[in-house]
């Protein structure tokens, strides 16, 4: 499948409409980067209150495969974030949901981003991408972990649009 099939386009339009109708609480923004290209979206994720990520804003880049929703989208953080399951250097996310094996076509981009927000509050230090911060968590040094996360959340907070 080279370009997006009719089904994919229809589904993406449907998702966009759906998002505008009932916006996702955890997102500041979700939509295509360019109105002409439905396969490249961007999103801005909000940090959950009551966690070290509180007050944070992160920009994400979403690449959608032409056979979406049969295959999962590829999502990267473009804003630096300090999290055990997210690469600090390239923003790659380690989430089972995003693998072909565990992806279900029923998931939407909106629900997927909610899942990413949940990952922020519920890190999995046993399969880390960011080994340094995972080590802090594993050693139980919560104070250090919190301060590192708070520092990067404030330091790298997405400033676009403000």
């Amino acid at each position: 499948m080279a370009g997006p099939s009719g089904n994919t386009t229809q589904r993406l339009i449907r998702e966009l409409k759906e998002y505008h109708k009932t916006p996702n609480e955890s997102l500041l923004h979700l939509g295509p980067v360019d109105e002409e290209d439905l396969l490249h979206w961007e999103a801005v994720l909000k940090g959950v209150n009551g966690t070290p990520y509180e007050g944070g804003l992160w920009h994400l880049r979403i690449a959608i495969p032409p056979n979406y929703p049969l295959a999962p989208p590829t999502i990267h953080f473009t804003t630096k974030i300090s999290h055990p399951n997210i690469s600090f250097t390239n923003g790659e996310i380690c989430l089972t949901l995003l693998t072909t094996e565990h992806w279900s076509p029923v998931y939407t981009l909106s629900t997927t981003l909610t899942a990413i927000q949940q990952l922020l509050t519920d890190p999995q230090p046993d399969s880390p991408l960011n080994v340094d911060v995972a080590a802090l968590l594993r050693d139980g040094d919560l104070a250090a972990w919190e301060s590192v996360v708070r520092y990067w959340t404030a330091e790298e907070r997405w400033k676009g649009g403000q």
């Binding site: 089904n7 229809q10 589904r11 449907r14 998702e15 056979n67 929703p69 049969l70 295959a71 072909t100 094996e101 279900s104 076509p105 029923v106 998931y107």
Partner: protein, 681 residues
């Protein structure tokens, strides 16, 4: 049985003859049994002629003469009641008390023999009969039929032959003395009992010839010690096998076949364990396997009013939808695309789950039939077959490129230390079932792995260093002598020593360039460590060079093989031989390939062998094969013009090479199996 002391002189010599022929040697058990029979005839005080063992139930009572165990000659003609027969039988001592059965041909024979018995037969002749039987058996006479004919007493032999060949009319006609008897033999339908008779042939002491011909079949069919039992399976065979098992589980658990198949795949085709687990916790097992407990309803697509598909967000009252029993409903189009994605792009088949969020239900074959196109379904079945073969320990795909066959072999992983299971696929590729590498007889898989590792990696670099360099006696820096005199000065610690004796240079006085101070203690310690590592390296290189040489030669032979066809063509035109007649070159080339392959691995094997007598035998066998191979290889390279003249020699050499290979492999395989040869790892 193995009671060699009871074998009488004549038989013993045959025994040793047998030993020289491994193929017969395999059947030493049956031979032993034979000796017992022979002994029985010998030890009986009077020549008892033939002994007739029959099953009581098969006897028409009172119709047959049963002179067993040793009835006096007068009884022979007497008609015995079945009671008497049984009494006689049970009174037989020892192993002869077991129940004996006689195959049909035997019956005729025995009957015929009984007929001879009625003729005045001298004692000596009866004796001779037994002996001749024995020797004939050991000589492996050609066929059972001819066997029966060459018996003493020409008149009786003719009649017996007829009896044997089963021509009742002529037999009865020629039997002047015992009409009653023969009509019994030819008319009472022994053939009907053949099946049960054949099963107990091993116990059949009654007739030697029949036992013999059967033994011969066994010899022919018997595998050589280095061969393993295996079966090549076609994909349809594999499907068949799967279906059989699915049907069995269906029958036992009362589940629909598509669900049983999912259950079996979940349990990795371990039927017993699966059934047990199902019986203990049916619901958990079904849940884990991705099946619901609900088997009601059947797969069909439906139109549900007011439905919106969660995947494509399409809605419409005429939208065809499908849901498995889990109830996650999607439009047929999306379902189809989803399955297509899984099968085509991801190569998944056995565990395709429902597209629903977090649903673990497995899509069964019935849904598949309903939803996907024919070629996709074919691919699905193919993938299922693949997982089946991967899941089963006794199945493996042939590793040859584009080969569609799988091999079924019962050799377990734990046996691989003692067995080298070489199998041959229909595509002619020979490989080891244990590690799927190309045939590596006689070396066990573990050694092959170690050997290849050893040859491949840098582990020998260290050996080279230790053999080609020396260490400074003071600072232990590794030093390679780069020419010049024996007066070494360590660049690092400036220690001065003699390269030859490793002793202090100052002790050398004026005898420079010519070290004669061998006995000096300072040098001898350094030297012994050196010698040891050097000998290790030499040992390895010895085997490696030969291994590599055969590998190289096999490659060259293969090139030659490619030229063979050309050679054969030119041979045809030059010598006027037909295409069939020049096929010997092809045979020879194949033999060369195979023998070199074996030889190559014998060197890897020998590297890991501890030295003992058996190793020497192994090396002798190796040497014999190597010499044969080399001389065949030499002949093979002769110019085309000479080849036609060498045909007989090449044929002989080819046969000899093959024979030596079989001997080497058989011997090694047996010793390996018995644990007599154990590689030092």
């Amino acid at each position: 049985m193995g009671d060699a002391q009871v074998i009488h002189a004549n038989a013993t010599s045959k025994y040793s003859v047998l030993k020289r022929f491994p193929r017969i040697c395999l059947h030493i058990d049956s031979f032993d049994f034979y000796l017992h029979v022979g002994r029985r005839f010998k030890s009986d005080t009077k020549p008892k002629n033939k002994v007739d063992f029959r099953r009581a139930s098969e006897e028409p009572p009172g119709r047959l003469h049963l002179p067993f165990p040793t009835p006096p000659p007068t009884i022979r003609a007497q008609v015995l009641s079945s009671d008497v027969w049984r009494r006689n039988r049970t009174s037989t001592p020892g192993k002869f008390a077991t129940s004996f059965t006689t195959p049909p041909t035997t019956r005729k024979r025995t009957a015929a023999e009984a007929a001879i018995d009625n003729e005045p037969l001298p004692a000596a002749q009866g004796h001779r009969t037994a002996t001749s039987h024995r020797s004939r058996k050991t000589d492996s006479a050609p066929t059972a039929t001819s066997d029966t004919t060459e018996r003493p007493g020409s008149a009786s032999s003719v009649s017996r032959k007829k009896g044997f060949l089963g021509t009742p009319a002529s037999t009865t006609a020629s039997m002047d003395s015992d009409d009653d008897f023969m009509s019994d033999v030819s008319s009472d339908g022994f053939l009907g009992t053949q099946g049960s008779d054949n099963e107990s042939l091993g116990e059949d002491f009654g007739d030697l010839d029949t036992g013999f011909s059967d033994d011969k079949d066994l010899i022919r069919d018997k595998r050589k010690p280095y061969e393993v039992e295996f079966k090549v399976l076609d994909p349809p065979d594999i499907d068949q096998e799967q279906n059989t098992q699915v049907d069995e589980v269906c029958a036992v658990l009362g589940l629909p076949p598509e669900s049983a198949a999912i259950l079996l795949r979940f349990g990795r085709w371990n039927k017993e364990k699966l059934i047990e687990s199902y019986m203990d916790h049916p619901e958990e097992t079904l849940e884990d396997a991705g099946l619901g407990t609900d088997f009601e309803g059947y797969a069909k697509t439906e139109v549900v009013p007011g439905f919106m598909c969660d995947i494509c967000c399409e809605e419409g009252d005429d939208l065809e939808t499908y849901a498995m029993r889990c109830g996650h409903r999607f439009c047929v189009d999306c379902y189809r695309h989803y399955l297509g994605q899984k099968i085509k792009e991801e190569g998944e088949a056995a565990r395709i789950q429902c597209p629903g969020n977090g649903c673990t239900r497995i899509v069964d074959s019935k849904s598949m039939d309903l939803l996907v196109t024919k070629d996709l379904n074919e691919r699905y079945c193919e993938l299922l077959t693949r997982t089946y073969v991967d899941d089963k320990e006794n199945l493996k795909w042939c590793p040859a490129p584009n080969c569609k066959y799988a091999i079924d072999c019962g050799v377990r992983t734990r046996d691989l230390r003692r067995v080298v299971p070489t199998v041959r696929c229909f595509c002619k590729h020979e490989f080891c079932f244990g590690c799927t590498l190309a045939d590596h007889q006689p070396t066990p898989c573990t050694l092959v792995k170690m050997w290849l590792q050893k040859c491949e990696d840098d582990s020998e670099t260290a050996n080279w260093i230790s053999a080609n360099t020396k260490e400074c006696p003071r600072c232990n820096s590794t030093i390679e002598k780069n020419g010049g005199c024996n007066h070494m000065t360590c660049r690092k610690c400036k220690h001065e020593f003699c390269w030859m004796c490793m002793g202090l240079w100052s002790e050398h006085g004026t005898s420079w360039y010519n070290c004669n101070r061998y006995e000096e203690k300072s040098g001898s310690d350094a030297r012994s460590a050196q010698a040891k590592s050097r000998s290790f390296l030499e040992r390895y290189l010895h085997y490696y060079n030969r291994y590599a040489n055969h590998e190289q030669s096999a490659k060259l032979d293969k090139d030659l093989y490619l030229k063979t066809e050309k050679k054969m063509t030119s041979l045809q035109s030059q010598s006027g031989l037909s295409w069939i007649e020049v096929q010997f070159l092809d045979t020879a080339s194949q033999a060369l390939q195979q023998c070199r392959q074996t030889l190559k691995w014998t060197y890897a094997f020998a590297f890991y062998l501890a030295r003992n007598n058996l190793t020497e035998i192994f090396e002798d066998n190796q040497k014999d094969l190597e010499m044969a191979v080399e001389s065949l290889s030499e002949m093979f390279e002769k110019p085309v013009s000479e080849l036609a003249g060498l045909k007989v020699d090449i044929l002989d050499k080819t046969a000899y090479c093959n024979k030596r290979r079989v001997i080497l492999l058989s011997d090694t395989a047996e010793n390996l199996k018995n644990g007599k040869i154990s590689p030092v790892v």
